[in-house]
């Protein structure tokens, strides 16, 4: 119960991405947000066919091209060069967001500043200073069958990111269905955080202590065991 070092024993971003990738469903259509969520594709399990969507109008893109091989008309929403898998397609922005809002994606994964226990998400700005930029985040949180978040469990100074109510400006209301953190996998159901998996090394009490709202337990809590080398 003691001995868990929050900063040293937590999962790295790559390990969180690996854990999220284990839930990718065969035959699914998935949008991975810019940055950290994009890493999930690298850990896609063998034997599962996943088609990736990017907001700027590509379905079925693959890995980044080798340096020097980029075609800058072929990029993703993060403006990184991509390649195409067989069966890819191009479409304009209105059709792309029809896929997003229209319920056609199986999964969207985003980063977060805060997630509230009712599924509210804050991930686009932390205050009123600087240049605001929203991109496709407010669209992506609507329509996908599952909206997941990948995030460190706590802020850099140890404060909770999973909270009773968001204090940062909202991206969407009641939209997140699952959170993959550096310590746990938590579902959002009926306005509550429900703990699904956690790191074996952290106790329930320690996990609750760094979570800003009550963690509910329904059935057995699974163990997150990340393979060596990730």
């Amino acid at each position: 119960m003691s001995g868990f070092n929050l900063m040293e024993d937590k999962l790295s971003n790559a390990q969180i991405a690996w854990r999220a990738a284990q839930d990718l469903e065969d035959g699914s259509y998935v949008n991975l947000g810019i940055g950290f969520p994009e890493m999930i594709a690298k850990f896609q399990p063998e034997g599962r066919n996943v088609t990736y969507h990017t907001e700027n109008g590509v379905l079925g893109f693959g890995r980044a091209p080798a340096e020097g091989e980029e075609d800058w008309d072929l990029i993703n929403a993060g403006k990184k060069a991509i390649t195409l898998n067989p069966g890819a397609s191009f479409f304009h922005h209105a059709d792309s967001f029809a896929m997003v809002r229209g319920g056609h994606l199986d999964l969207a994964v985003l980063g977060a500043y805060q997630v509230a226990q009712n599924g509210d998400l804050a991930n686009w700005r932390v205050g009123s200073k600087g240049v605001p930029a929203v991109g496709g985040a407010m669209d992506l949180v609507h329509g996908a069958r599952r909206v997941a978040v990948v995030t460190d469990h706590v802020t850099k100074d140890g404060g909770p990111k999973l909270v009773e109510e968001c204090t940062f400006p909202l991206t969407g209301v009641g939209c997140v269905t699952r959170v993959y953190t550096s310590l746990a996998v938590i579902d959002i159901a009926e306005g509550r955080f429900v703990l699904r998996d956690k790191l074996p090394a952290i106790s329930l009490e320690e996990l609750q202590a760094v979570t800003g709202a009550r963690l509910h337990i329904e059935g057995e809590v699974g163990a997150i065991v990340v393979p060596e080398g990730i």
Partner: protein, 239 residues
């Protein structure tokens, strides 16, 4: 996991009684005749699916396709813009006898309502039908000095569409003006079933040439020499 179905009969096997079904095509252009006839075959063999609501621009022609579904007694309601045609006796007789319901929708509004369903837009404003009896009971509002009617999205449980080239990822192209409602309906149904004239591996359609991306298509079945409704009607075929 594959989207490819071995036959039209398999492709439509799980459509239940009472389903709301979009059927692509404009008249015979782009109409998925083989999928429709497979539904009729199933109804004749099993009595199901019955009491269907069909969404199409028209209400069938001659004694094949949608007209044959209506004659067979499978259809409880049509949602369409133009049930009248030169060979529309199947619908006309049932309608005038009060045996089939009709929701009449202006053609552009029908297209936009279907597109809105596919795009997650629950309602929109259109100038079409303002001040007419087809706008009765609908909210209206002025924007920039012109009056508009509010219309709702139109969804379906199933869409039956006809593509030309298709691939195993569900990507579709369409032949000539056979495109019409097909790409919209593919977006707007919970489950979209496409018959295609040529089925290839993923990559067989150039990414720029895809009209309906595979994300909108659940089932693909190859019908390599599809029948053309207009030719069937002209040769007096009765299905």
């Amino acid at each position: 996991m594959t989207k490819v179905s071995p036959s039209v009969a398999d492709a439509i096997a799980d459509i239940p009684d009472g389903a709301q079904i979009m059927i692509g095509g404009f008249g015979g252009s782009g109409a998925p005749i083989e999928l429709i006839h497979a539904l009729i075959d199933r109804f004749r063999a099993t009595g199901s699916p019955s009491n269907l609501t069909l969404i199409n621009n028209n209400a069938g022609n001659g004694s094949i396709g949608i007209a044959a579904m209506i004659k067979a007694g499978m259809v409880g309601k049509m949602i369409c813009s133009f049930p009248r045609s030169s060979n529309a006796e199947a619908f006309n007789e049932k309608y005038l006898a009060g045996e089939i319901a009709l929701e009449l929708v202006p053609q552009g509004t029908l297209a936009e309502r279907i597109r809105a369903a596919g795009a997650g837009i629950p309602a929109f404003y259109t100038p079409t039908s303002f001040g007419t009896e087809l706008a009765e009971g609908k909210p209206s509002e002025e924007f920039d000095g012109k009056m508009y009617v509010r219309e709702r999205w139109l969804k379906a449980d199933f869409a039956l569409v006809k593509g030309h080239d298709g691939d195993e990822a569900g990507n579709l192209t369409y032949r000539l003006a056979g495109r019409n409602f097909n790409p919209l309906m593919a977006m707007a149904a919970d489950r979209t079933i496409a018959q295609v004239s040529n089925l290839g591996a993923p990559g067989s359609i150039a990414p720029e040439a895809v009209i309906t991306p595979g994300i909108f298509v659940d089932v693909v079945v190859e019908v390599s020499e599809p029948q053309q409704e207009e030719m069937l009607v002209r040769t007096g075929v009765i299905y």
